[in-house]
Amino acid sequence: MVPLTYYLLLSGILFTCGVLGFLIKRNIITIFMSIELMLNGVNLSFVAFAAHWHALSGQVFVFFVMVVAAAEATVGLAIIIAVFRTRETLNVDQVNLLKL
């Protein structure tokens, strides 16, 4: 039986990787994937706790997160395609029209 701490550590590492990628990367696809990484890091902690406490609600919640993530991916990818079509770039630093 793997202790709960390991799961949580892995979950933290995944989340931190996601945050760092989210902040550092310029490619919008990569940023997107970083967000998924963060979500999955959180999902991991959910299921780990669920298994540890023998409570089902954590696992149910993961399903919700996955559904939301799927919807988000759909919308996000659609936006990315639209952005690429108009600006022919995936670099977020060049997509900065929305400013004062």
Partner: protein, 654 residues
């Protein structure tokens, strides 16, 4: 007391006229305006005459409770009217003289652009003045009191594009506020102590009280405060300064408001409150002293004025002083008698002066008049009658009323009488001076100057006025009627008939003591005093004749030899300058430095401006967060998340 359902119509008719002309006058023809103004005013006069004809001592006084107004606890003040002998005299004077001056105005103001506005204001004034006169309680009287002040303000500043006229209007209004302040406090005292402002109820409450002899009591305070109000409205010392400036208004306004009717409201109010004053001898003495001093003071200023209307203005102040002197010695009916005759001859003097001014194209400086007698014989004749009347030459109106006052004053104190006689002498002098300067000698106006080849220093009349000319009949008719009244108006006082007529209104007055049949000695004394006042009047005439007709060079030399004294009189004793230093300047300076620069700019503006400024600075810095860079947004989100987590951890640790 008899109810009379038509009483409210008398003030309401001029109000209707004012409303019609005010709202529709701009688009209607001048004929229509005149018809409206004169018919509503004339209807009020006709109604007043009808009231007078049905008026008998048995049924008097009339009253009418028109509508409820204020009902608060036990206090009540209603729209109710009251007509006794005193208000009847005022009513006839106001509507009668008012109607004549309305007719005159038609001729005088015909060419003015704001003709409808003028007529509307005049009617409005009539409404307020009649409300004042007919009111049954002090509060309604106060409404009329303030209303005539408003009408006066509007009409003094009638030519509001002229700066001096606008300022004169404001001055009149502000000086009157000081008086009204006293009046209001007197009303508050009455409400507090008698719980009512109704004449009958207040007087009924006061009737059983004893005269306050030692020191000041409640009635003395009320009396003095009422006198403050009267001094403001009736231009007595020290609040007279607005009346000479009020001459900036059109001449019919000076005649109606600032000579015949409105300025006498103070006298009416004091006479109406005679119950209070009789029980406050100290206040009554103050009234007498103020009146006497004002009479003398204003008369001396009148000597050195060169503006024809200013002379008449100071003369008005002086005559009002006589009226207050009369009230102050307890001779209320003599005061009201002089009020009536004064309305006739002073109204006439102003109208005649207006006719002169009209005839020579707007000139008011008497030094530029002279020799007008052949050009305007009617004006000369009527003005001459008025001058004789005001100077106190028998048997004209002014003689009877002025002599009555002097006789009553003599019975109280010879000092009042002496000052009154001196004033009568000065009055006679400056009035005949005015006559000789205006009508005697040769014409010194612009036309004559050109004819003589003098340098015409560009005193531009610019109306295309040629030689002086007589006024149209519409202006002369009121002059003639008023001249007739000035001639015979005094006879209503013959054999004390006027006094007996007014007696019910002044029942319980101190005059009862004098009602006793005069002894032979008293009668002789009265005739001697009468002789003295006639001779001083004649003396004043003679002096004016010598100085201004026989030796026209002499006055200038006398003025020169008097030096500083003459300059002080010519500059009205520098009272305006004194008031400017004492009252106006501190107020202006205080308002500028403390209220404007200090409070308004320093506190109120600063608060608003600084909060707006700081909001802008903060936003200026915050807007750099909106860089448009996606990754910086991400950074802010992450930082925010980190802060929230740190906070939660910290809270969890605690």
């Amino acid at each position: 007391m008899t109810p009379n359902p038509y009483l409210w119509l008398i003030p309401a008719l001029p109000l209707a006229g004012a409303a019609i002309n005010g709202f529709f006058g701009r688009r209607s023809s001048k004929t229509a305006i005149v018809t409206v103004a004169l018919s509503f005013c004339g209807a009020a006069f006709a109604l007043a005459l009808y009231m007078a004809s049905t008026f008998s001592s048995a049924s008097a006084p009339y009253y009418l409770d028109l509508a409820h107004w204020i009902r608060a606890g036990s206090f009540q003040a209603d729209f109710s009217f009251y007509l006794d002998q005193l208000s009847l005299v005022m009513l006839l004077v106001v509507t009668g003289v008012g109607l004549l001056i309305h007719i005159y105005s038609v001729g005088y103001m015909w060419d003015d652009d704001g003709f409808y506005r003028f007529m509307s204001y005049m009617n409005l004034f009539m409404f307020f003045m009649l409300t004042l006169v007919l009111a049954k309680n002090y509060l309604l009287m106060f409404i009329g009191w303030e209303g005539v002040g408003l009408a006066s303000y509007l009409l003094i500043g009638y030519w509001f594009t002229k700066d001096s006229a606008a300022s004169a209007g404001k001055k009149a209004f502000i000086v009157n506020r000081i008086g009204d302040f006293g009046f209001l406090i007197a009303l508050f005292l009455m409400i507090k102590h008698f719980g009512s402002l109704d004449f009958t109820r207040v007087f009924a409450a006061i009737q059983p009280m004893q005269p306050e002899t030692a020191g000041a009591g409640l009635l003395t305070s009320i009396g003095l405060l009422l006198m403050v109000g009267a001094a403001g409205k009736s231009a007595q010392l020290p609040l007279y300064v607005w009346l000479p400036d009020a001459m900036e208004g059109p001449t019919p306004v000076s005649a109606l408001i600032h000579a015949a009717t409105m300025v006498t409201a103070g006298v009416y109010m004091v006479a109406r409150s005679h119950v209070i004053f009789e029980r406050a001898p100290a206040a009554l003495t103050v009234v007498a002293i103020v009146g006497t001093l004002t009479a003398l003071f204003a008369a001396t200023i009148g000597i050195a004025q060169t503006d024809i209307k200013k002379v008449l203005a100071y003369s008005t102040i002086s005559q009002l002083g006589y009226m207050f002197m009369a009230c102050g010695v307890g001779a209320f009916s003599a005061g009201i008698f002089h009020l009536m005759t004064h309305a006739f001859f002073k109204g006439l003097l102003f109208l005649a002066a207006g006719s002169v001014i009209h005839g020579i194209g707007g000139e008011q400086d008497m030094r530029k008049m002279g020799g007008l007698r052949p050009y305007m014989p009617w004006t000369f004749a009527t003005m001459g009658i008025a001058t004789l009347a005001i100077a106190g030459i028998p048997p004209l109106a002014g003689f009877w009323s002025k002599d009555e006052i002097l006789w009553k004053a003599f019975n109280v104190s010879a000092a009042y009488w002496l000052i009154g006689v001196i004033t009568a002498f000065i009055t006679s002098f400056y009035m005949f001076r005015l006559m000789y300067l205006t009508f005697g000698g040769e014409y010194r106006g612009a036309v004559a100057q050109e004819a003589h080849g003098h340098d015409d220093n560009g005193h531009g009349h610019g109306h295309g006025h040629g030689a002086p000319h007589e006024s149209p009949w519409v202006m002369l008719a009121p002059l003639v009627i008023l001249a007739t009244l000035s001639l015979v108006g005094g006879f209503v006082g013959y054999g004390n008939r006027f006094e007996h007529f007014l007696a019910p209104a002044f029942s319980g007055a101190t005059e009862v003591a004098q009602e006793a049949v005069p002894t032979a000695a008293e009668s002789t004394l009265e005739h001697m005093l009468m002789g003295v006042s006639i001779s001083v009047a004649a003396l004043g005439w003679l002096l004016a004749y010598l100085l201004y007709s026989r030796m026209p060079m002499l006055p200038a030399r006398i003025a020169e030899s008097l030096g500083g004294l003459y300059r002080a009189v010519a500059n009205k004793y520098y009272v305006d300058e004194l008031y400017a230093i004492l009252f106006v300047k501190p107020v202006v300076d205080g308002s500028t430095t403390i209220l404007w620069r200090g409070v308004d700019q320093g506190v109120i503006d600063a608060t608003v401006n600084n909060s707006a400024d700081s909001a802008r600075h903060v936003s200026d810095n915050l807007r750099h967060m909106q860089s448009g860079n996606l990754r910086s947004y991400a950074g802010w989100v992450a930082a925010g998340g980190a802060v929230v987590i740190a906070y939660m951890i910290w809270m969890g640790v605690r």
